[in-house]
């Protein structure tokens, strides 16, 4: 029902069905999927209600970090995003506090307990994403014994959720290849080194003062690791926003969204609205469209989107309105999101009264930035355990930058262990800096002059670290100043007597979908334009009339589709050929997919009057409660925690901490006056029995 049946990029593997029950009702699931995805696939969004105020609970992190998705599986409270469906499992919502399941007589003999094992290893890498894998490759290459742990079922981190081609440098970091495929390449290389051990489904729980690191292995076994050096490549966590209705089921981040859609192939929403115009929000919107989900709009509080312009333009061309200088006012609905209200903002980013508009949507995706997952690095450094960090865990940047910083950090770790790695070239550090850089200047579109022959048009107007277009031209006609791949590419009409052959390789390779090819050779008045398209081939058929647009998504006219080409060499990038009038053929950059009525606002705006802007979603603490304390003069976050329970919940203060800091700023309190609270273990909640050395789950619920 809410499944993705076909996808332009992702394969849909055959899976066998199992049945389970939800509130006594029989439902179908796929074997090996999580309970949360199985429930979403059946249209279930509300998983229970909070003990404190009865607020509806549902998916939030989809990553085992919080407990918003708690359900009862055969009577045992479990995080549904981490628990796989078992045939026949009886799933019930958690209404209020769950019962601790009783255990049968004889179930608990500590005779079956296992002493907690300690593993010594020269290097422990936390996180098998782009940075961790790249570091492991460098260490593996030098024969340094390394243990790489990752909490997921497969390696690759967030790469495995990325269907788009990557930016960055072709020489340094696989630019032009899709994220999912980079993950496979890196994984295969890591697996080729016998010195690198990989533990999947392994979550780091704590770094201790005695230099040991506590790991939960496969959700059932506690192991202590004593590393010589710790390398933290644990990535990032999403920031959140405080606004009325911000914890309604249906409000969640890009990580959860991409997990549901691109990993679990579930269609969690019919109508999505996005908050945040950074790369994460823009790409999530693109992924939604690829999955057949309507994207109603995107708001960005700044005057320009912070993400790459090519991502923004791509989304706009497909028919998604991008509302800059706008913010979310409220998410509306009783037990789940039913609509969103947005408003224009003034120069202080406050909503302007009278500018409110509401849109029908069932999901609000919050993509307002990332913070490094740096608690392990900080604890290790506090405790004197040698520690390095790379990728987003060190500094938030693109995945391409993470690949490269991981590689450098891998070498630095090797050197710290006494391995002769030679001198690490200063060029590497420079490349790392370039890959990390934020988007630079935007220039006006440079439309080429001639209107004859065949040539590419580069709709690439913003300086970003990206160069795949320079590597595919058979006659080497696309160039970027080699000293800095952030500079804009340019097309040279002729080199060594050779010009553009019309091979279309540049059109297919551009990660920004920002290159078209205009061919005047057959008909100079109605040239053919080749447009890159990453949707299912049969979305468009020859003869269809489509709206074509300029780079930024302004409609140019309606034209007829000539051909739709899907070549294996183009790796799932389809090329759509249209014939267009000479007047605007060169300006065509894309084809609108989503009809304008999808994005139409509601007749009147929906006002949410409930004072339910939540800062601590685990303990249901409102912004009002915390503001009051700040106004009374409190500056120690530990004191606010003590009084309100903010940050005492199951997510371990991961979600609310930045929001509390933000409230202080909104109240005009300088950061320097605010005393942060100490970070405490555990990273995620773990049953006592596992620390006792009792493996696995209680037999009481494994059997009927």
């Amino acid at each position: 029902m809410y499944r993705i049946e076909q996808h332009p990029i992702l394969p849909i593997p055959p899976r066998s069905k199992v049945s389970f029950t939800w509130k006594g009702r029989a439902l179908e699931a796929f074997e090996g999927e999580t309970l949360s995805s199985a429930l979403f696939a059946s249209g279930v969004r509300v998983f229970g209600h909070h003990a404190k105020d009865g607020a509806a609970q549902g998916i939030f992190c989809a990553n085992g970090q919080c407990a918003q998705c708690l359900v009862l599986a055969d009577g045992v409270p479990v995080k549904s995003c981490m628990e796989l469906v078992r045939p026949g499992v009886r799933v019930e919502p958690v209404e209020g506090l769950p019962e601790l399941p009783p255990v049968g007589p004889g179930a608990a003999g500590l005779g079956e307990a296992r002493p907690i094992e300690t593993v010594r290893v020269p290097v422990l890498i936390i996180g098998g994403g782009p940075a961790g894998l790249s570091a492991a490759i460098e260490l593996g290459r030098r024969g340094i014994e390394t243990l790489l742990v990752d909490d997921k079922h497969r390696l690759g981190g967030k790469l495995v959720l990325q269907t788009h081609r990557f930016f960055g440098s072709i020489n340094a970091v696989y630019a032009g290849t899709r994220g999912i495929d980079i993950a496979t390449r890196l994984e295969n290389e890591v697996r080729s080194f016998p010195g690198v051990r990989v533990w999947l489904q392994t979550t780091v729980l704590a770094v201790y003062s005695d230099g040991k690191v506590g790991l939960l292995v496969e959700g059932r076994k506690y192991v202590l690791v004593e590393p010589g050096i710790l390398l933290v490549t644990s990535g990032a966590r999403e920031k959140n926003l405080a606004f009325p209705g911000n914890t309604l089921p249906g409000v969640y981040g890009a990580g959860a969204f991409q997990t549901l859609v691109n990993r679990d192939l579930v269609k969690p929403t019919g109508r999505l609205f996005i908050v945040g115009g950074g790369n994460v929000g823009l790409i999530a919107g693109y992924h939604a469209l690829q999955a057949g989900i309507a994207v109603v709009g995107l708001v960005e509080v700044m005057a320009e989107c912070g993400g790459y312009k090519v991502h923004r333009d791509k989304l706009a061309r497909l028919g998604v309105p991008v509302y800059t200088s706008h913010t979310v006012v409220s998410a509306n609905g009783t037990d789940a999101v039913e609509s969103v209200t947005i408003a224009r903002v003034d120069e202080k980013f406050r909503p302007i009264e009278g500018s409110e508009r509401s849109f029908d949507c069932d999901t609000l995706l919050i993509a307002v930035g990332l913070d490094p997952v740096n608690e392990f690095t900080e604890k290790a450094r506090e405790f004197g355990l040698p520690a390095f960090a790379a990728g987003d865990a060190e500094e938030i940047a693109e995945a391409s930058a993470a690949i490269f910083s991981g590689k450098i950090r891998g070498l630095e770790v090797a050197r710290a262990l006494g391995c002769d790695v030679g001198e690490i070239s200063p060029d590497w550090y420079r490349t790392a800096d370039i890959l990390k850089s934020r988007p630079g200047a935007t220039v006006p579109e440079r439309t080429p002059g001639p209107e004859s022959g065949v040539f590419p048009v580069l709709h690439c107007n913003q300086e970003i670290p990206c160069d795949p277009c320079t590597g595919v031209c058979p006659n080497d006609l696309i160039e970027i100043d080699e000293s800095d791949i952030r500079l804009l590419p340019s097309f040279v009409a002729e080199k060594a007597g050779k010009g553009c052959t019309g091979c279309e390789k540049c059109v297919a390779i551009c990660p920004g979908l920002a290159i078209t090819l205009v061919d005047y050779r057959k008909d100079a008045d109605f040239p053919t334009v080749a447009i890159p398209f990453e949707f299912l081939k049969d979305t468009l058929k020859p003869g269809d009339r489509v709206v074509v647009e300029d780079t930024e998504g302004n409609a140019l006219g309606r034209v007829e589709v000539g051909a739709v080409k899907s070549l294996k060499a183009n790796d799932r990038t389809v090329l759509v050929k249209v014939r267009a009038p000479r007047e605007y053929a060169k300006r065509i950059a894309g084809i609108r997919i989503q009809p304008p009525e999808t994005a139409a606002p509601l007749d009147r705006y929906v006002e949410r009057t409930a004072d339910d802007t939540i800062i601590c979603r685990c303990e249901r603490v409102t912004a009002g409660e915390i503001r009051k304390l700040i106004r009374e003069g409190l500056r120690d976050i530990s004191e606010i925690k003590a009084i309100t329970r903010t940050s005492m919940g199951s997510c371990g203060a991961k979600t609310c901490t930045p929001l509390v800091h933000r409230l202080f700023r909104e109240e005009g309190v300088p950061d320097a006056e605010v005393v942060d609270q100490p970070k405490r273990p555990l990273f995620i909640e773990v049953p006592l029995g596992i620390f006792a050395g009792l493996e696995g789950k209680d037999e009481g619920h494994d059997r009927e």
Partner: protein, 386 residues
């Protein structure tokens, strides 16, 4: 800060003892200043306490003080409105070996004589009180139904807020660096920010008690050791009383846990040998050590998820009893230190006693209590229910 501001009493430490003492003094109409190095109230050891409140001790002094504390905690909400999450669940001490059975039974007479509501229960009756207890080998245990628990965080805030309403001043982020002495008696304190005058100074500095006493030239035998604790997720009520297991095993002495008003289980263990010193950083040995003992005692706990762990200090004395009294070495200087990890439960009762001492209004019972807690006792005894 303004120098030379004068008060009736200065309390060093806004913790489990200092905050309720300030409240008692403010209630008596005295001008009180509390100075603490932390950024807010209870940020030293109070917030690390797990919240157990019992009058079940082995000596009349602590029993008496804690009975009064229990009255204060249990009636706070009705008297002052704010919820301190008091839960009257009682305390239970389990016995699985004749040794513990004997220790617990031996204490009963004295405990009852001191006014404690406590009884021994044989296994079947004890299992009625804690149905999930591992019945294998269980002999029985004691149960004192009037004991309970509360939130140290909320309680200290309640004391703090009321003390401030009554005029007490609190200076945070300020470290006492020395005493002002004049004419052979205390005249105030010096801090890293200023100097404040008062004829009475109370050392309620918890684990820093010996350091602060040394400023008065007093050597007090307070030495902190550390215990780790943790809190779990919240579940529906399944456990009534605090459960204490005093059996020593390799690596640990006693451990104890209870289900808080929020539904969370909070637990703590005493490492053996003791971990002396001020180190409060998390160790890898705590969770495996405590979890195996808890799951063995209450198998149902195996599915309960641990949320957060921390480590706190127990300012210990040689005999396990607090040190409370006027210093003989320096007039006007009072010691209220060495709570041995029981500052939270002793605090409110002790605060009132301190108030009476300062006003010269001690009763005969008080004076008897104070002989047990005297800084100048011989420290020969040994608390059996640490």
């Amino acid at each position: 800060m303004t120098a030379n501001k004068s008060f009736d009493v200065i309390v060093v430490g806004a913790g489990s003892v200092g905050a309720p003492a300030a409240l008692a003094l403010a209630e008596a109409g005295l001008e009180v200043l509390v100075v603490d190095q932390c950024p807010s109230v209870g940020q030293g050891s109070n917030k690390r306490a797990i919240g157990g409140l019992r009058a079940t001790h082995s000596d009349p002094a602590k029993i008496r003080i804690c009975l009064r504390s229990l009255e204060i905690f249990s009636t706070w909400k009705e008297r002052h409105g704010d919820d301190v999450e008091w839960h009257k669940g009682g305390y239970s001490y389990v016995a699985y070996r004749p040794e513990e059975e004997r220790t617990l039974k031996d204490l009963l007479t004295g405990q009852k004589a001191a006014g404690l509501n406590i009884d021994w229960h044989e296994a079947p009756s004890f299992l009625q009180i804690i149905p999930d207890l591992n019945p294998e080998g269980l002999i029985g245990g004691t149960f004192s139904p009037e004991d309970g628990n509360a939130s140290p965080l909320l309680a200290i805030h309640a004391f703090y807020r009321r003390a401030k309403t009554l005029g007490a001043r609190f200076f945070f982020n300020e470290r006492v660096t020395g005493l002002v002495v004049s004419g052979g008696r205390v005249a105030g304190v010096r801090t890293d920010k200023g100097e404040y005058g008062a004829p009475v100074v109370i050392n309620a500095a918890g684990p820093w008690g010996a350091e602060v006493a040394a400023m008065a030239g007093i050597d007090v035998p307070v030495r902190p050791d550390s215990h780790e604790a943790a809190v779990t997720e919240a579940v529906a009520r399944f456990l009534g009383p605090m459960v204490v297991d005093i059996r020593p095993v390799a690596g640990s002495a006693n451990y104890y846990f209870y289900q808080h008003a929020t539904g969370q289980v909070i637990f703590c263990i005493t490492p053996s040998p003791s971990l002396w010193g001020m180190d409060v950083r998390e160790t890898s040995s705590f969770l495996p050590m405590v979890a195996s003992r808890m799951v063995d005692l209450i198998p149902r706990l195996r599915n309960l998820r641990v949320r957060r762990t921390w480590r706190g200090l127990y300012p210990m004395t040689p005999d396990g009893f607090p040190i409370v009294g006027w210093a003989r070495e320096l007039e006007g200087y009072m010691l209220a230190v060495g709570m041995c990890g029981q500052g939270f439960m002793l605090g409110p009762g002790l605060g009132e006693l301190i108030g009476r001492m300062i006003q010269g209004k001690t009763s005969e019972d008080d004076r008897e209590t104070l002989t047990y807690l005297s800084p100048y006792r011989e420290f020969k005894g040994q608390e059996k229910l640490k």
